[in-house]
Symmetry: C2
Subunit: 174 residues, 2 copies
């Protein structure tokens, strides 16, 4: 569960934090998907994470200081997971990672539109997004101006879905 400290190299230590198959996926779903609860992360995960792995990683990410956990006032058993500043500053890395994957890997169009928009938005968009996350998770920053980055990304995703649905005659609207 704990970090190895194989060496003090920054890249090595970063890898020891999220150099596994699930930690960054979970953070991605929290950051871009806006998921805050265990079930949302479990069922919403495109990659089908197992519940024990999710529980383990959430605990680990909390120990590492990337997430915090709070009770949900609306439900005594629900927990709300929040990003810390440490996790929020991963946004540029995720943006780069998405951009790299889009170039070199067989990404699907629907799922890469967000990465494309984030790449085109560049650092100014990342900063705006990080401020929105700070507002949402840390309750600190001022309320973000509309439209939010997440809404913009989601709109792009929806547009692709709608376009593709129409082109194959599956438009849900008559």
């Amino acid at each position: 569960m704990n970090i190895d400290r194989r060496s003090g190299c920054p890249i090595n230590l970063s890898l020891e934090v999220f150099g596994d198959r699930w930690s960054l996926i979970i953070l991605r779903d929290i950051i871009f998907g806006g998921r805050r609860h265990f079930r949302e992360l479990l069922n919403g995960s495109m990659e089908g994470i197992a519940s024990n792995i999710l529980a383990d990683r959430l605990k680990r990410l909390m120990e590492l200081g990337m997430l915090t956990r709070a009770d949900d006032p609306s439900h005594k058993q629900k927990a709300i997971y929040s990003l810390t500043e440490m996790a929020i500053t991963l946004v540029p890395i995720l943006a780069h990672l998405g951009a790299w994957g889009r170039v070199w890997l067989p990404v699907s169009e629907e799922l890469s539109i967000r990465a494309e928009l984030l790449e085109k938005g560049g650092p100014p968009m990342w900063d705006k997004f990080m401020n929105e996350l700070r507002h949402e998770h840390l309750g600190a920053s001022p309320a973000p101006s509309e439209p939010t980055v997440r809404a913009t990304l989601q709109a792009g995703y929806d547009a692709v879905i709608a376009r593709n649905a129409r082109s194959i005659g599956c438009d849900p609207a008559p």
Copy 2:
């Protein structure tokens, strides 16, 4: 050995390429350490990779198109591993990763000086470095102008080592 394709999400696919504890470490040693041979990677690895893991990851990285292998003309048994363009474009990601780790993780001073210099150099330095790597590994680009980025990073590292050695009375020079 093969990639799962759990989903077509760029971040997920990127993670499936180097979301393990060793692949990026190997690439880091090739990129920043200038290592090209199996033994160099095996013995030079600060983190102590095992030979079977190294062999497995080199094979995997070749299958993924991140490395190529060529015979060393100077020694019939030696192999030279070269980065592909796909791997060279990881430089900005490694720079971000190093910068992030330097802020949030207990890095050691000697090992993080390179990350610091690379961070301060910013995208222009990354581009110069990538061109040097293209020259070195792909034999394509024009010869880099002196001093090379790798030499600059190494000089920074050596300076820290020398300074620390002096401060504790271990200066090798009399």
